[in-house]
């Protein structure tokens, strides 16, 4: 099934390029179009480069997709500058598309109006984990939302605090100071993490609040998921929140978080995918999964989106860029889903995936569909 879709997409893209591309590329795509059905079908599917940026949550996957498509002629540049910068890059047109983990709000959509209608393409789910660097606690601690909120509020300052010990029978906790590490840039990862804190702590909700960046009561800031991971790695006694892939890459321990049903759940393919099971997706696909119900659902999962103008050509990009972006997204929603899984992200549930594909199909160039 997947293979057929892929071939079909490849073939149609090649045909499209046969018209659009010029010079020597033309001949190449003609010859490959003749041999439909082989792996080489997709050669010369891409005609140039995509310059994108934003979410560091999603960066490992986008980079992987980009490197897989390199052999097909794509030069892919993705700047991991944070979701806020991804949205800003789409707003001012400096990026071909932006990555963000929290859907753009109405105000942001209005600000981006000059680029035309903005569409959201969800790409996959990931888990925001509370990762820590404490000698002696290599296994997953159990933490509930309120405890985590109190740590980030600076009210719990020692690893052997009774609030932590109470949830972790049998674990020897050291009498060590907790160093909080948080993001310093505008981040969708932050918003996802804080919505978990806000759901269980009134004090957090009323104080710092839930947003892409807040006034932190305590802790050290760092830029990007990578920056937070680096600080946690360097600092004994540190706790920070990162996308799971960054925690796994750096071999961090991370906590099992208590969900709505009262169970402590570790983020796994199953528990993260479960977060998308009953998600209600509005027509414009601006959803958030947050603390979903379900016995074995990980409570701090997040979707991530690619945002872009529906008509890239009207927003000033070339036809080649528009077609490259469309092909990139199509790849991501087909073959790319499996690759995301290999990097510790959860593929989109079928219902969301279909809607996402429909958005990609509806992309236009100067009012005409991109074939």
């Amino acid at each position: 099934m997947r293979f057929r879709t892929f071939t079909a997409v490849g073939a149609s893209a090649v045909l499209a390029l046969g018209v659009a591309a010029c010079g020597s590329d033309d001949k190449k795509s003609d010859s490959t179009a003749a041999s439909t059905g082989t792996e080489t079908t997709a050669t010369a599917k891409f005609s140039g480069s995509i310059n994108a940026g934003g979410s560091t949550f999603a960066k490992p996957v986008y980079d992987t997709w980009g490197s897989k498509l390199k052999s097909q002629g794509l030069t892919f540049n993705y700047a991991g500058t944070g979701s806020g910068a991804g949205i800003a890059g789409v707003t001012d047109g400096t990026l071909d598309f932006g990555g963000t983990d929290s859907a753009m709000d109405d105000e942001e959509i209005a600000a981006a109006k000059k680029q035309g209608d903005i569409v959201h393409v969800p790409t996959f789910f990931g888990a925001v984990v509370a990762a820590y660097n404490v000698k002696g606690i290599e296994t997953g601690l159990k933490l509930d939302g309120e405890t985590l909120a109190n740590i980030f509020l600076g009210k719990i300052t020692k690893w052997n605090d009774p609030a932590i010990a109470g949830q972790n029978d049998g674990v020897t906790l050291p009498d060590e100071k907790i160093t909080v590490v948080h993001r310093s840039d505008e981040s969708g990862t932050t918003k996802a993490f804080l919505s978990y804190l806000g759901a269980y702590s009134k004090e957090w909700e009323k104080g710092p609040g839930v947003d892409k960046s807040v006034k932190w009561p305590t802790g050290t800031g760092a830029k990007g998921n990578d920056g937070v991971a680096g600080q946690v790695k360097q600092t004994e006694g540190a706790i920070g929140y990162v996308e799971q892939a960054y925690a796994l890459q750096n071999d961090f321990a991370y906590a099992s978080l208590k969900n709505k049903a009262g169970n402590y759940v570790e983020p796994t393919l199953e528990s993260v995918s479960a977060a998308g099971d009953n998600v209600e997706v509005p027509a414009d696909l601006r959803f958030s999964i947050g603390d979903a119900s379900g016995d074995q659902t990980y409570p701090d999962a997040s979707a991530t989106f690619i945002v872009l103008p529906k008509d890239l050509c009207k927003a000033g990009k070339s036809k080649d860029v528009a077609s490259d972006v469309k092909n990139f997204l199509t790849y991501g929603l087909t073959t790319g889903q499996e690759e995301a899984k290999q990097l510790a992200y959860a593929p989109l549930p079928a219902s969301v995936l279909d809607k996402a594909k429909a958005v990609v199909d509806s992309l236009e160039c100067n009012g005409a569909p991109i074939s």
């Binding site: 480069s49 310059n51 940026g53 490992p60 980079d63 490197s67 030069t75 892919f76 540049n77 993705y78 700047a79 991991g80 944070g82 806020g84 910068a85 949205i87 800003a88 890059g89 001012d92 047109g93 400096t94 990026l95 981006a112 100071k177 160093t179 310093s184 840039d185 505008e186 947003d211 892409k212 960046s213 807040v214 006034k215 932190w216 050290t220 800031g221 760092a222 830029k223 990007g224 990578d226 920056g227 991971a229 680096g230 600080q231 790695k233 360097q234 600092t235 799971q244 796994l248 890459q249 750096n250 071999d251 983020p267 796994t268 393919l269 000033g316 899984k341 290999q342 990097l343 510790a344």
Partner: protein, 666 residues
């Protein structure tokens, strides 16, 4: 022409002279054109700077009109997510880090200058000052890299101990954050030592030997000689040098952005808290700023503020340095007069500047043994502080060579970075099976970064070096003494003080966001930003060289009827050529290491791209991206790229030195 032609009227020779004169005179019609063209280029500086200020003024207007100037710079409340922008915490952070830099940097720099000029054995002098100049050639991003990966983690324990032990002192104590004001100030101190030291050295070297010998002859110890003869005379120069160092510290961006943490909402409780400076917040937030016009206006406002402060500080610094120079000249004149008077057998006039009222000052230590002890202690301190100045350099270079050398290989230099992170995720924990294990990713090398740097810097140099030299030629050949010439020279000085991050921001709002040339981020836009930075350096380094061209050469040529433009082209420029090459190469070397203007303009790229109208990778951008990553493999690549960059810059400086050696006028 032989002088005989004038004395012996020889019809043949006279006609030959007429012929020659006629030939040399050809093209004199070009003179006004050349003059106008050069004047136009000089005027371009005015247009550029005026546009720069007006653009920044207009773009930042919303934030100043919303908050008012005073509120904007004093309110401590910078929260982009809530759309409130009070830059108080940024102003405070800028002041705190600069103050720490001066407190640590200036005494050390002055000590090194004293050591080199007064105490060091002659053969050490060149070595020490050369080493300090090396310190000045290391780019900001490399200091950031070293500070972030080596200094900050290594010093954290010491800082915590210090904070706990001395917590009774205000602004010390509490939890030490890995990124903080102090560590930033420390790195800034290391960065300003070469500047302050170089200017102090220059001033100290001009203290009249007579004065020093007089002090020694009166029985003063070395230290007393330094205190009574050297320091009073060089004080103004030292203050001026420190102010220049302050100007540098205020505008320093990338090293600060890496080390200060980026907290903007409030001022930290202690010097070990994290914060932000005006410059760092611009570098860290510019990419997020466009979804809110007010945020962008606030960042530009911060840039404008930074520019204004730097301008004032630099003006004060120049005032002090000029005063120091004129005072030395005056002292020399007075000394000569006094000597002449003494030779005529007159008694020195009381109240003359040469009378040293400070000598019979009551001393705390009066016994000879005590004075000798003070002398050796003071000399020990000076030598010790000099060692302290050289220590970070040794550590930095050591790490650079060991770490960087370890990453560099042929394939490292000839493959492109892949853009991948250090390792594939250890996904078995996520997938719930043990099949997938962690494996190293292929990170690739830095080929695209090397070539991109060469391309960006090359374009900037090709355009800016000729313009800069042309403006300098105008200033020396036509503008000397005219109001316009003085005005342009003043503007060039103003331009020298613009922090590079502000140039980056300027190019970002004028060329990148408006997508001039069809693409937003582009290599040539980075060239523009670097060019703006290089232009005043090229002009200022060309001015003294052109002035050194002997006036007689010009007069001789002009007397022969050679048109002015030909004099410039055939006499002035060739004579000054080695010096011009040196100055230009040093300006290029300086630009090659700049990071802030590049991340604003060249975008993010990993693949090799020759097209300057698209994103280009560069060494500074590659280092900046890799420092902030968490994987040690990326850190290794950053070290390798840093070593490559430093070697590149040193090569340029070395060629510059060689060119200078060929110079016949200096």
């Amino acid at each position: 022409m032989e002088s005989s032609t004038a004395t012996v009227p020889n019809p043949d020779a006279a006609s030959r002279l007429r012929e020659t004169l006629a030939r040399t005179k050809t093209g004199s019609w070009l003179d006004p054109w050349v003059k106008n063209a050069l004047t136009g280029l000089a005027g371009l500086i005015f247009v550029l700077l005026a546009y720069f200020l007006i653009k920044l003024g207009i773009e930042s207007e919303p934030v100043f009109s919303k908050y008012g100037f005073i509120d904007f710079i004093t309110k401590v409340d910078w929260l982009p997510s809530k759309d409130t922008y009070g830059a108080g915490a940024l102003v405070a952070g800028t002041l705190i880090t600069s103050a720490i830099a001066l407190l640590i940097g200036v005494p050390i720099a002055v000590a090194t200058a004293l050591f080199v000029t007064e105490l060091a054995p002659a053969r050490w002098r060149g070595l020490i000052s050369g080493t300090l100049e090396l310190l000045a050639a290391v780019p900001s991003v490399v200091y950031g890299l070293w500070g972030f990966l080596f200094l900050a983690p290594k010093l954290k324990g010491v800082e915590q101990w210090f904070a706990d032990t001395f917590s009774f002192i205000p602004f010390i104590g509490g939890d030490v954050s890995a990124a903080n004001y102090f560590i930033t100030g420390l790195i800034l101190a290391i960065m300003i030592i070469p500047i302050v030291s170089a200017i102090s050295r220059e001033v100290m070297a001009t203290v009249p030997t007579d004065h020093k010998e007089a002090a020694l002859a009166l029985g003063a110890t070395r230290w007393e000689m330094i205190r009574t003869a050297v320091l009073p005379y060089s004080r103004a120069g030292i203050v001026g040098g420190s102010m220049l160092g302050l100007g540098r510290a205020l505008g320093e961006t990338i090293a600060v952005a890496i080390l200060i943490g980026g907290a903007t909402a409030g001022v930290g409780d202690s010097i070990f808290s994290q914060g932000s400076t005006l410059a760092s917040v611009i570098a860290l937030e510019f990419q997020e700023a466009t979804s809110s016009p007010e945020h962008r206006a606030a960042l530009i406002g911060a840039g404008l503020l930074l520019f204004a402060v730097t301008l004032v500080i630099n003006a004060i610094a120049r005032g002090y340095i000029t005063r120091a120079e004129s005072r030395l000249k005056r002292a020399e004149r007075d000394a000569k007069k006094a000597v002449a008077a003494a030779e005529r057998g007159e008694a020195p006039k009381s109240g003359s500047r040469l009378s040293l009222p400070s000598i019979p000052r009551p001393e705390l230590v009066t016994t000879l043994r005590g004075r000798k002890r003070v002398d050796s202690i003071a000399r020990g301190w000076v030598a010790g502080l000099t060692g302290l100045a050289l220590l970070p350099l040794a550590l930095l270079l050591g790490f650079l060579v060991i770490k960087g050398g370890g990453s560099i290989s042929w394939s490292f230099l000839t493959s492109d970075p892949t853009g991948a992170a250090g390792a594939v995720a250890n996904t078995n924990r996520f997938l719930g099976d043990a099949a997938v294990t962690a494996q190293a990713n292929d990170l690739g090398g830095i080929r695209s970064a090397i070539l991109g740097t060469l391309e960006v810097v090359g374009i900037a140099a090709a355009v800016v070096v000729p313009i800069g030299i042309a403006v300098a030629v105008y200033l020396v050949e036509y503008g000397e003494g005219t109001w316009f010439g003085n005005f342009v020279r003043y503007l060039v000085d103003v331009m020298t003080g613009v922090p590079s991050v502000v140039f980056g921001l300027f190019v970002y709002i004028t060329l990148v966001v408006s997508q001039v040339g069809g693409a937003p981020f582009a290599g040539w836009k980075a060239s523009v930003a670097l060019g703006l930075l290089m232009l005043p350096i090229v002009i200022n380094s060309a001015l003294p060289v052109l002035r050194l061209v002997p006036q007689q050469l010009r007069e001789a040529a002009l007397a022969l009827g050679v048109p002015r433009w030909k004099v410039i082209l055939r006499i002035v420029l060739p004579t000054a050529a080695p010096g011009l090459v040196t100055g230009s190469l040093l300006a290029i070397a300086r630009a090659a290491g700049e990071t802030a203007p590049i991340i604003f303009t060249a975008g993010v790229a990993t693949a090799l791209a020759g097209d300057p109208n698209g994103p280009l990778n560069t060494l500074p951008a590659q280092i900046y991206a890799d420092v902030t990553a968490s994987s040690s493999a990326q850190h290794d690549r950053a070290w390798g790229a840093a070593l490559t960059l430093v070697v590149l810059i040193l090569l340029l400086s070395l060629i510059a030195r060689l060119a200078q050696r060929r110079s016949r006028i200096s």
